[in-house]
Symmetry: C2
Subunit: 146 residues, 2 copies
């Protein structure tokens, strides 16, 4: 996985620097939902001089290469950066009351993806399917609280 990314970076003529490698390492081991701030913190554990600017630059670079996709950047409470290295798509439910996030596996976009891709000439690299509403618990509390 990391190897693939490294290859694609080099193919595209980018250098394999230590700060960059630190970010990649964090992304590989950190799961799909890290915020830039978390990536910075974890990255500095590997390469202490790592700067915020470099984290953003690396994320942007990977993004341009289609290896990664930031979702909900800037959002604070919930997880923020979402890595598309692991899967092609991301699926979850978000509670608009407590902010909790429940992932699910079912993917129903395959056919649609092909249709859209063809119709619009779009090269699709990934997707995000997100439902929002009230989770089981908040559904009950809702009326009592307010």
């Amino acid at each position: 996985m990391l190897e693939t990314i490294v290859e694609r970076l080099q193919e595209a003529g980018h250098r394999l620097t230590k700060p960059r490698m630190a970010v990649l390492q964090v992304l590989e081991t950190g799961g799909e939902h890290l915020s830039p701030a978390e990536i910075l913190a974890r990255g500095q554990a590997i390469y202490p001089a790592l700067s915020r600017a470099t984290v953003y630059r690396t994320l942007e670079l990977l993004s341009e290469l289609g290896l990664l996709r930031l979702i909900h950047p800037g959002e604070q409470r919930s997880s923020v950066a979402c890595v598309a290295m692991h899967h092609h798509g991301h699926h979850h439910l978000l509670c608009i009351h407590c902010g909790c996030m429940i992932p699910f596996e079912e993917c129903v976009v395959g056919e649609l993806e092909a249709t859209l891709s063809q119709r619009l000439g779009f090269e699709i690299k990934g997707h995000l399917l997100e439902f929002y509403g009230l989770c089981k618990e908040c559904r009950g509390h809702q009326k009592v609280e307010q």
Copy 2:
């Protein structure tokens, strides 16, 4: 449409203030993809004293009532706030190169929504389906540019 929202606000015991009405008016006429900053600017054209805090507070309120959903808050280049008043779902393709956004109408989540809702006890109020990749034009340019 605006009437519905006004009703739901009052039902829930919230006041119909001028700043709030200004925001609602902007949301009603501004389409589905306004950023909080844009909402503030347009709102101030209607009610000059409108403050940023009030915009955020109103968006949060509407969000809690399930009338609205902010997507990609904090993101700068592309549109940010996404209003769920108009439709139940939002569907678009995002180009990771130029940032353009192409909406589409097809919705394939109905059945899945019912399944998840039942399985997890989640009360689903809306959804976002977003594909990302390269648009027709960027797909061509990509290799030439770099």
